[in-house]
Amino acid sequence: MFAYLVRRLFLMLVTLFGISVVIFFLLRIVPGNIVDILFAAAGYVDPADKATLEKELGIDQPLVVQYLHWIGGFLRGDFGYSYVSEKPALQEILPRIPITARLAGLALLFSASIGIPLGVISAVKQGTRLDYALRVISLSGLSLPSFWLGLLILTASVAMFGQMPIFNPNPQTYLEAFATYAVPAAAVGFRSAALTMRITRSSMLEVLRQDYIRTARAKGASDAAVNYQHALKNAILPVITVIGIEAAFLIGGLIVTETVFNIPGVARFLVEAIRWRDYPIVQNLVMLIAVVVVSANFIVDMLYAVFDPRIRYTD
């Protein structure tokens, strides 16, 4: 197990190094930089002022020097300054992380708590009206874009209740705090729940056809025990994989949801930073996300090994 752990850790570090190179150079391939944008916003270009500003921000240096400067700072915990707000990048990024984390956590919770039980029910009741209804719901969840669903929720709330579940930065009660996040989390988690449900259903159907399930039933185990103790335990592995992937994919979904519900999280902030070519923010934020995603995958892999001991010996 220890060797497996070390191997996975090494792979994780190599992956992160690769990501840092890709992030850095991809950003530079995109035409235009912060100085171009600042002058675009001012409606004029003064070559002398432009050169001064590029020098001041250090973006006139060779790319390798810029990369080493950034990655060295990142490893030391020095994230530099935002080109736009001129505040420390970390000071800009950190307050936004809990907001997005709460939203993503709630969305994942929504996804798992709705998707897994409904997937099990759909599989157990295969071919019934309930199964068909659940499959239609899951298909619609996969088809409806979260921005559309979000706007629909907002419009319906205003039309029906004259209220709007828009972000409240200072909730007074836990209920208010929950309400602030619950609606957008449901909007973004709906698609994820639909996917989880479909994966759970297909995985359950495969497991339910196994001999040992028939044996369990023959031994007189209850339906609940068969479905949840014997079948689900073995069917859950692909579901965990999907939830792990979804955790990373959620960031993409959150960009739209944070924009529609006006939530000041990191996802929307990242889009704005890309728009401004605010390299210190984009590089460090994407790198932080990469660390989270790679770590999540690492944890999922470890969970695999816990759930299926064969993996730790064969991989």
Binding site: P31, L38, D46, L53, S85, V158, Q163, F269, E272
Partner: protein, 532 residues
Amino acid sequence: MRSVWALAATAALSLLAFSTITLAGEPKQGGILRMYHRDSPGNASIHEGATYSINVPFMPVFNNLVIYKQEVAQNSMDTIVPELAESWAWAGDNKTLTFKLRQGVKWHDGKPFTSADVKCTFDMLMGKSQQKFRQNPRKTWYEQVNDVTTSGDFEVSFNLKRPQPSLLALLASGYTPVYPCHVSPGEMRTHPIGTGPFRFVEFKANESIKLVRNPDYWRKGRPYLDGIEFTIIPNRSTAILAFVAGKFDMTFPTHITIPLLKDVKSQSPNAVCRVEPTNVSTNIIVNSSAPPFDNIDIRRAMAMALDRKAFVSILFEGQADIGGTMLPPPQGLWGMPKDPLESIPGYGPDVNASREEARKLMQKAGYGPDKHLAVKVATRNLAEYRDPAVILIDQLKSIYIDGELDVVETANWFPKVARKDYMLGLNLTGNAVDDPDQSFYENYSCGSERNYTNYCNKEIEKLFDVQSQETDLNKRKKLVWDIDKKLQEDVARPIIFHARAGTCWHPYVKGVTVMSNSSYNGYRYEDVWMDK
């Protein structure tokens, strides 16, 4: 006796009714004005920006030497009033403009305001000081200012190279606040210090901007509001829904397009909405330094193919204005009247006849039904640019020009335009001040940084100077019309239309004036109050 009682009762009721009316109309102190902001401004320094996304939230922090009366919609020389100045006077053959300054005014950090601050500000704007702005987009405004001198702590003079009466108009713009000497330009971008009615509290990028009442404001009894809070909501649908749901007292100024205005009014029937010209023109930039538009016939043909009314009716349901460079009347002070305007080729009422002539010009240049001219129409990737560009492409088909839309991200737009990497471009030009000096020199003078097409006509430039020095308003107006007509005939930068947009607020918000000939000058907010 009964009649006496009846009379007394009537009198009492009348008095009560009158007093109620008076009370309802009298400004009340207090309340936080909640407004959404359309995007996150790059910084908080008005002098370093060229978008009213900065003016709207930060103009309340500052004062100018002079300002356009905030309760009058149309900016003109007659509506300029002193602010940090107490008075002004022209002297020395109209080449010296002297301001007597208000005494006892304090910056928000408690330091006293003096003439040194005025000198510092304008020295920086003219690029004459040690401290420099990171960007200085309006340096050209002060090209005629030789220097700024002080006489004691409360008098300052602008010494000009030649008379320029409209310097006062430029000084009255929301773009011309006085900055403190003791605060660096860098600090002003992140934490502005002013003398204005509201103090800066915080600016969280992409989140919010908060201002609070300045209790030491020199204008006693103002501002009425305790503060202003801007929530940054880039998504227009979300922002408007939030306004309708009562989350905000007011929309971002001129943020409601004409088609959206109907939605707002249907969902919030009590909302007060004003539609005014924004003094932003939609125009075509033509690369006349390279084929095929180095041919004046093709440029003229293109200008004559425009059906401006179609643009206005498709994009604004008829609520926009057709004119030349200057904003058309009645809101615009300097726009050409109907007759001279319609005498310009392409502006006449008969579009078909105009296009027929345009086709002849195209045929003369070697194009026709069997040989179309293929062009790329470049524009920024924003709806207000893209939509008219699509209509333009459609209209150009009528004169054998096949246009292809070339959508360019904002970051690449100005570099592309600067290196002349375009054939035709659809562009928007905002005018901060409804004055020919601002518009002509900035957009059409030889060598100006914002003269994107590098149009250069020395004869016309001489006329710019003549109109600029003219003190007789009517004479100047005629000169301006002649110049504007010539600019359109030269296809310097064909103007398609001047946009209008809406601003809405809930009925309890009082004292709001939407400026009718500028989107940059009306956001001091010291007279705004809430009847709540």
